[in-house]
């Protein structure tokens, strides 16, 4: 083993039917280092981690751990845990119907008799020290995904570990929480814990990491010290080509201009749902891109869910072209030409065991009707078209969607809604878990669709993404709309101020009755 290394993987290979996910990959983690694992969607990052932690058996290769003479045999996540490797997987693997404390301590306690009172107290203490807004006895399913993510992190961190693995832990966190996580990581680093950190956010890599290992198409590209690898080079190493320029994407897209562009296509009046949002007014014009912004839990997702009929509406109306319409189920919204890409991909988006093809055509099929199934050829044509358009990496259209990498699953769900050709498309965190190259492609696509007359609502935790695509932003705080920004006001600081409530600007008259 290399000097100071606590973990070494040598010549790891892993194939799935139709894909060679890892080909002869080496990876070394040293004591007290934060090591970024980077690569495009489907590059094999999660697979490498799952092989390391015994979720998948490896086809060949060896794993060495500090303190063990021979190659380590890790057959299950439990083995890995016992050897001091604790992991937060990309898809949250906790049990939603157990309490927060049970989730944190399950599989770690010894013996049959448990003092749950003591465990709950301990859990509360950990939650408090990490500032997680949850209580030990709360059912996990009742927490937002961000909180669930934090609980998963808390569980991993609370274990006495030598290696900590975080697979895209920050994809659903906002800036404050990411800061908290980084502080935590640095503390552990000082104690000599080695951390493997997977993310698609380049800023975060340059903020906390010491080293970067890049994978591309299941092969090792190389290991680099952070100071030797400037951003541009990192991206080209990941993609295998130069990245398009980020800055000019707004300018190259023309805005939609038609005479009917002035009227709102969809409007809401005093809309509120069972999810506890304050009644809100909102409108969107043809060919417009709007956004909802606010901290996590500010109710931005709940607003769009209410428009789509995903939650039960308690008051208010939705109007299309000024005429009130009734949306009590998602199917009503779909018939009116609304599409909705949900925030939580695993829970609300994918249908895991169904094939990529079936997942892509599902929404359109449901709209077409029970008695009119697409023929195999039609379905295949649709699937192939979008697999190509969005560059979805999959062995075939028949592969179950759950075996795709996280980012590629997201692309399938996006494809599903693009296929329905909605008049109004709601995208809640469409770029979550998507790699840098594709992120830009998606933003471009959004602008292109808008220029062709589609109205789009775009929600993202990354403010600069919203600034680049949206022409109007609705700002939310505490489940209430607190302002609306457009034109010159669309700046990072202005958004921050409005969210914080500093210069809370009143909603423009159009949106308030």
């Amino acid at each position: 083993m290399r000097e100071g290394a606590i973990l070494e993987m040598r010549g790891i290979c892993k194939s799935f039917p139709g894909v060679r996910a890892l080909q002869n990959v080496d990876f070394t983690l040293c004591e007290g280092e934060i090591h970024a694992l980077m690569g495009e969607n489907g590059a094999g990052k999660s697979t490498l981690i799952k092989v390391l932690t015994g979720v998948y058996p490896k086809d060949s290769g060896q794993i060495f751990l500090k303190g063990y003479q021979k190659a380590a045999v890790i057959r299950s996540p439990q083995d890995a845990q016992n050897m001091g490797i604790s992991t937060v997987y990309q898809e949250i693997t906790l049990c939603p119907n157990l309490s927060v404390a049970e989730n944190m301590y399950i599989g770690r306690t010894k013996g049959f008799v448990q003092n749950w009172k003591a465990i709950n107290a301990k859990a509360d203490q950990v939650l408090k020290s990490l500032d997680i807004p949850a209580t030990a006895t709360q059912q996990l399913a009742s927490c937002s995904i961000a909180v669930q993510q934090m609980v998963a992190i808390a569980r991993a961190v609370d274990m006495d570990c030598k290696v900590l693995i975080l697979d895209e832990p920050t994809s659903s966190l906002d800036e404050q929480e990411v800061e908290k996580l980084f502080r935590l990581m640095r503390d552990l680093q000082k104690k000599g814990v080695g951390i493997i950190f997977v993310t698609h956010f380049l800023d975060q890599v340059y903020e906390v990491c010491d080293k970067i290992t890049v994978l591309r198409d299941g092969k090792l590209v190389g290991e680099y010290a952070i100071k030797d690898l400037p951003r541009v080079q990192l991206v080209s190493k990941m993609l295998g080509k130069e990245l398009d320029d980020l800055s000019d994407i707004q300018s190259e897209s023309e805005t939609y201009t038609a005479e009917d562009a002035e009227d709102a296509i969809f409007e809401t009046e005093n809309l509120a749902s069972t999810e506890g949002i304050k009644p809100f007014d909102f409108y969107i014009r043809k060919g417009e891109v709007t956004g909802f912004t606010g901290l996590l839990g500010s109710g931005r997702s709940e607003c769009v869910r209410a428009i789509f009929g995903a939650d039960k509406i308690t008051s208010g109306t939705v109007k299309k072209h000024g005429k009130p319409v009734k949306i009590s189920h998602p199917i009503d919204a779909m018939r009116l030409g609304i599409g909705y890409l949900p925030e939580d991909r695993k829970r609300d988006g994918i249908i895991g065991d169904l094939s990529v093809r079936e997942n892509i055509i599902l929404a359109l099929q449901v709209m077409k009707g029970f008695f009119k199934p697409f023929t195999k050829a039609e379905a295949n044509a649709f699937a192939e078209q979008y697999i190509k358009l969005l560059d979805i990496k999959t062995a075939s259209a028949d592969t179950p969607i759950k075996s795709l990498s996280g980012g590629n699953q997201q692309k399938c769900i996006l494809a599903r809604w693009l296929l329905t050709h909605p008049e109004y498309l709601i995208l809640d965190e469409p770029t979550r878990g998507i790699d840098v190259g594709t992120k830009i492609d998606i933003q471009k696509l959004v602008l292109k669709l808008a220029s062709e007359g589609m109205s789009i609502t775009f929600i993202s935790s990354e403010t600069d993404e919203m600034l680049r695509t949206c022409s109007r932003l609705v700002v939310m705080r505490d489940r209430k709309v607190v302002g609306e920004l457009s034109g010159e006001e669309l700046t990072q600081t202005m958004i921050m101020n409005t969210i914080a409530g500093g210069e809370a600007k009143q909603c423009s008259p159009e949106t308030i009755q």
Partner: protein, 363 residues
């Protein structure tokens, strides 16, 4: 030679990975066993029955004949399992009810009528309505009240046979009209048992339904993830409800065959334990009992595997009360062998066996 070997083993591997492999393998295994034990098992003879009509007889015919009800139930049970992630354990009791309804309509007020009091088709349609209503009852509990399927259907499982007896005032009606016996026996002049035709008709209708509607896709989607199904415009509760109603229809058809076989009914014995066999058929077909993806052909084959097993055991004079014990042993073996974990291990074992000689060659 080498390459030929490879393609054959590749083909086998492909088949091995397919879901339908399990019931096919089980069927072949049972056939092989019988072939060795007593080849006369496969003999089919053309004889005449008491009425002087030509009929085919033999163990294979018995399997096809008596497997019909099970195959028909397996169709409905597969859909229920896929969509609701649970099973209906009341089908046996429901068959008693629907059979009882058929007899009641045919007999009117007299339990031993000289002539039928209503056309058979009417009796059958009434029993369809009743069985679908009971299916709807189960479906409502499961889909709208969100009660575990096993618990929800336990109600009818317990009460069903009493309801069946109550429908006929606890009498045992007997139908003397011979044409009523055709459905569970032979139509004069046709040597193949009628239940076989009924089962085939059900299979064809099922195949057409799955082909020309989205029933299969919707059931699977709802069974895998009902939250995201809803966001795709489906109505998960209604689809679950619908599968129970469809199972009710299957129950009515199976009930007609059952009462027709006897031209009478025995409330406590008719279709006894058939729910377990139907659930096993689904499981043997390699379908997850927790719902989601299904393979209808495999389920139906699974039903015939179970009937094959039952008939084989009868042939070897296993006492009928010991039958379930023997069956359990075989079923455990089959289910364990078909479990994904075991199959993965077997595949790995096979791969390592294949690798070893290759490695030796290199050395």
């Amino acid at each position: 030679m080498q390459s030929r070997n490879n393609t054959v083993s590749e083909l086998l591997m492909k088949l091995f990975r397919r879901q339908i492999f399990i019931p096919i393998a089980a069927l072949l295994l049972l056939a092989l066993f019988n072939l060795i034990a007593d080849p006369s098992f496969f003999k089919i003879t053309l004889g005449t029955n008491s009425a002087g009509d030509p009929v085919l007889s033999g163990y294979l015919i018995t399997i096809l004949d008596y497997g019909s009800e099970l195959a028909i139930l397996a169709i409905g049970m597969t859909l229920v399992t896929a969509a609701s992630g649970g099973q209906d354990i009341s089908v046996g009791a429901a068959i008693a009810i629907s059979g009882s309804v058929v007899l009641r309509v045919l007999c009117g007020s007299n339990s031993r009528p000289e002539t039928l009091q209503a056309p058979i088709i009417v009796a059958f349609l009434v029993s369809c309505l009743v069985a679908m209503a009971f299916g709807a009852f189960n479906g409502t509990l499961v889909a709208y009240f969100k009660i575990q399927p096993m618990v929800a259907t336990l109600i009818l499982f317990t009460a069903g046979r009493s309801i069946a007896a109550w429908i006929n005032n606890n009498e045992l009606p007997i139908i003397s009209e011979p044409s009523f016996g055709y459905f569970g026996g032979f139509i004069p002049g046709i040597p193949i048992p009628t239940p076989v035709f009924i089962a085939v008709a059900c299979m064809i209708i099922t195949a057409l339904t799955l082909r020309f509607t989205n029933l299969g896709l919707y059931c699977q989607a709802v069974g895998i993830n009902d939250k995201s199904s809803r966001l795709n415009g489906l109505n998960p509760a209604f689809i679950k409800f619908l599968t129970y109603v469809i199972l009710g229809l299957c129950v009515a058809v199976a009930g007609l065959i059952k009462v027709s076989r006897l031209s009478s009914i025995n409330y406590s014995v008719i279709a006894k334990d058939i729910e377990m066999d139907a659930i096993l058929a689904v499981a043997l077909g390699g379908n997850a009992l927790s719902g989601g993806k299904f393979n209808m052909t495999a389920s139906i084959l699974g039903a015939y595997v179970i009937q094959f097993l039952t008939t084989t055991l009868y042939k070897f004079n296993v006492q009928s009360d010991a039958l379930s014990a023997y069956k359990a042993v075989v079923v455990i073996a089959l289910v364990v062998l078909s479990a994904p974990i075991v199959r993965e291990k077997l595949t790995a074992l096979k791969n390592s066996l294949k690798k070893q000689p290759a490695a030796k060659e290199v050395a």
